[in-house]
Symmetry: C2
């Protein structure tokens, strides 16, 4: 039940593809590498927690942009439209959200991950 994050991050290289590393009260603990941008989306019923381990996460909201750096965390409340992106450097994050959360909400794009895998 002890999980080494650095080791887990060596197991994948794709961007915008979260992998599950743990579960916690009906939530999954996921790791992801981000670079570039994802589509605008929201999750009707699920809050999302982003913990930035390295790099800078830029989150666009319809009314503002929030920059979250290494050592900072960001909670995106349910129902709020958001678009994650980066400044060109890779970002490594822990993502915690309910098991029911769909990757890009009700929108499906090329990047959308439909079947989550454990690493």
């Amino acid at each position: 039940m002890n999980i080494n994050l650095e080791q887990k991050f060596t197991k994948f290289s794709e961007h915008w593809h979260p992998y599950i590393v743990g579960e916690l009260n009906e939530n999954y603990v996921k790791l992801a590498k981000l670079k570039g941008e994802l589509v605008w989306h929201s999750h009707e019923h699920e809050d999302e927690l982003f913990i930035v381990l390295s790099g800078t996460l830029i989150m666009d909201f319809r009314d503002k942009t929030v920059v979250t750096k290494q050592g900072e965390i960001l909670i995106v409340p349910k129902g709020v439209e958001h678009r994650p992106r980066t400044n060109g450097e890779e970002v490594q994050i822990i993502l915690i959200e309910p098991k029911s959360t769909k990757h890009t909400g009700n929108i499906t794009v090329e990047q959308t991950v439909k079947e989550l895998e454990w690493i």
Copy 2:
């Protein structure tokens, strides 16, 4: 909704006293500083996630001891007895658990925190 962990950690100094910094789908995101040891306890219905930001967390279970270092995470499943302790150095953690979680389960000791506060 952007939370700087380093800044939050400057706001308290007590050991074994978690403070809330965010909420997420009926869970609280808490920060705590640990040094010494806490009482053996369990949480009947709640898994607990420990993310170690600095120092080394030693978790005794009835059948083993798990050492979790900076950059590692530990999930303690519901119902499993555990005793967190340190090697003498302060440990800083993020703790994520359901709002219903009692600090030391059904055991009350001097260190038990009954009313959680936000910082």
